[in-house]
Symmetry: C2
Subunit: 237 residues, 2 copies
Amino acid sequence: MATRQRPKSAKPEPGAAARQPRDAVRTREKILNAGLREFAANGYSGASVEAIARRSGVAKGLVFHHFGTKEGLYLAVQMRMYERLRRRQNETQLEGLGPVEGMRRLVIDTFRGFREMPWIIRLMNEENLHRARHIRGAEAIPALYNPLLAAIERLVAAGREQGLFRADVEPVGFYVALSGLGYFYQSNRYTLGTVLQVDLGEEARIAAYEELIADMVLAYLQGGGAPFPTPPARDGG
Amino acid sequence: MATRQRPKSAKPEPGAAARQPRDAVRTREKILNAGLREFAANGYSGASVEAIARRSGVAKGLVFHHFGTKEGLYLAVQMRMYERLRRRQNETQLEGLGPVEGMRRLVIDTFRGFREMPWIIRLMNEENLHRARHIRGAEAIPALYNPLLAAIERLVAAGREQGLFRADVEPVGFYVALSGLGYFYQSNRYTLGTVLQVDLGEEARIAAYEELIADMVLAYLQGGGAPFPTPPARDGG
DNA sequence: CGCCTGACTGACCAGTCGGTCAACTTCCGG
DNA sequence: CCGGAAGTTGACCGACTGGTCAGTCAGGCG
């Protein structure tokens, strides 16, 4: 039935969205996005290749044609996830802000990033369940994080030079703490909501939490209990 | 169907393994513990009832006899997990400590609890993947958390009355932040280790992180909420 | 134009899954 | 010492899984 009409030229017809001409890149992308949603929703074992194929309107065999195995697709999804996370983090505008306001912005925006893209958290948790064995070989991923760590170091250094921040901030630990404050709220949103009998999705609660974690990070940086080990002998810049 | 062949005599071998006498409670416990390990290691979908039965040295059917369904066993595992968490939290000795030292102890011990029992994190993540739909009906669980929140409120109130802590601490948000600082380090240990190219299992790094998060929480509690516009002219009130 | 590469499909396979069942064993109250 | 309830087993089932394969089809290139 239904004699297939072939498009006369390779150009996609702008009018009818009925049947796209063959486009491997576009198809791959569809499968990848469907996989991202499916893995995020159900985890690795819970996701089925058949469901992913169905989601992307494609035969199951095609998934294997493009990605080899279920694990291959999963790895591609993880890479895509880190790309998106990096891109989101790079969007945080810190230019023109002093150390204090810059850090406040960074903390709050990190938190907002996790809230905007909860699927990132699901995928990260899944990969941690597997002890990161899929992404371990991907050397591209660590490089994505260097800019973020560098931005933190720059902010902390600027604050230190202006005599605003303590001098003994260890960047890696500090980054973990900063991320954890935002991550946990979102990652454990449902169990926390149940055991604490509150709704963590409330706007007022979210706004209060943003203030809390920004205050906490800044209070730590701005001295708190620890005195300054090395007073900055530099002139005020 | 032909009549089932019955084994001539299912005598337990007298020599090997010394079969325990029948003890339903003990058997249930063995299955529950095996399920805990299996669900923590592989998630809900990744865990197989057969593997759980094998782990506990029991026929698969017996698992269903005791727990009804896979989901029933999973729910029992979740409950057990919260019991263990509560028990661990209650072990934290705060008696005789002032607000500052008590809070420091609480922060560090919460972190240590997560490190000692990483399976708790895996099970919590799994339940959050399912949006807490399994534990939502269990009214016993929220009650477990009340003592912890109460302890926090007691510490914060004591600190406030002694003029050491700020007055506007919201307990729920504060608890989330406090937990998140410890949780994230452990829950994302593997992906963080990969992307940051460090080993989060190092003793020195762990000790430094304990200091960091304790300092951070205390700096928040002790410091004025005002970041930078007003000079630090805060009194104990 | 003809042709070959690669995108794409649908049927299919072997294995695993959660769950059921009848039968057997052990234990305990009467 | 009997009888029934509860504990326990292993064979079994239908549904579904990841993965394969032969073959169809479209389109860019010579």
